[in-house]
Symmetry: C2
Subunit: 201 residues, 2 copies
């Protein structure tokens, strides 16, 4: 565009909104227009919520979760079994497991997976902090809940090497058919894993 | 969810983001997570841009465009032919026409279309303001660029009735085959309109 359609303030808002995942340039324009039209009901509270998040939200120094307190709510929760630590790649995985109420335990966010191709080495992840956490002796089980990708599995193996000889049990999520999933759409690896791990009906 | 995953600040951010067009609950979560992770590069400037928009952006009292100045940049532009007014339903249509550099003229944003079913009458739109603008005598042509929907056409006809007898020419956008469009995918109405308005090659 030769000249901006609206003022530079709106153009800037559009450009920043377009950087959010899930919003392209076109939907960012729609979102910006929606915001300036819904000034009081949406724009004002959203601007306030962002300022608030900017102010209060940070990373938990223990597990890497994102929260308003440090250590985070999960790390401080006495009702959780803090001796079981679920190791995930990303905070979004932590959130997904929490939504599923999968396990009432603590977490450790790696911040990614090992990927030589993308130049991600062990020092880019929070592996050292995890090993430190385990070496303090209060962790009895590590549930390695990384994604079932090549990088995820490489990371899991690297992690196993690091905790080798320590007094901690390592487990992983079961493979199998997703609940509600159709066999026809599943890959062979999942199907044979599900078959091997079949259970009595 | 029984209890919030993260602090109430993040939950609130997610809920507000989910109200934006194009973002559902799932993508709002991803966006919120992205924002708190990209604190400095994205969250801080976006919060500032929103505060800025809240502060400065408003509706143009002449044409209904959204801008930081009132009258808006377009209404104040001496390089535009202010005697030609393009009538659109929404600011997004104005933006679309501006992106296309369709006409170097002024605009009038109706704020919607007449829709008895949804209870939208003439007093809910800026029709009175438009008639006033025309009656001042400086407008020579109204390009009625409402959408080619039933409501849009009803609104166009109502508008024509209102300016009946005034010294102003009313025009509408040409119907035809979209540039790059495939005939096979076009409806019969568009095809026959394009055929009737065929031009010499």
């Amino acid at each position: 565009m030769a000249k901006p359609i609206a003022g530079p303030e709106i153009e800037r808002l559009i450009q920043l909104l377009a950087k959010l995942p899930g919003l392209g340039p076109r939907s960012a324009r729609r979102a910006a227009l929606y915001l300036v039209k819904k000034r009081e009901p949406i724009l004002r509270p959203l601007a306030a919520a962002m300022a608030d998040a900017l102010d209060k939200v940070g990373e938990c120094s223990v597990c890497g979760n994102i929260d308003t307190s440090d250590p985070c709510t999960i790390c401080q929760d006495p009702a959780r079994d803090q001796s079981v630590v679920v190791v995930v790649e990303d905070v979004s995985d932590l959130w997904a497991l929490e939504r599923a109420k999968a396990l009432n335990a603590a977490y450790h966010v790696l911040g990614g997976v090992l990927s030589p191709l993308e130049g991600v080495g062990p020092e880019d992840l929070t592996i050292r902090q995890l090993v430190e956490r385990v070496s303090k002796g209060r962790v009895k089980e590590l549930v390695i809940a990384v994604n079932a990708t090549v990088e995820g599995q490489t990371t899991a193996h690297y992690l196993m090497d690091q905790i080798d000889g320590m007094d901690v049990k390592a487990t992983r999520l079961a493979h199998g058919v997703p609940v509600g999933g159709e066999l026809d759409y599943l890959d062979e690896g999942t199907l044979s894993a599900a078959m091997r791990a079949r259970t009595a009906l």
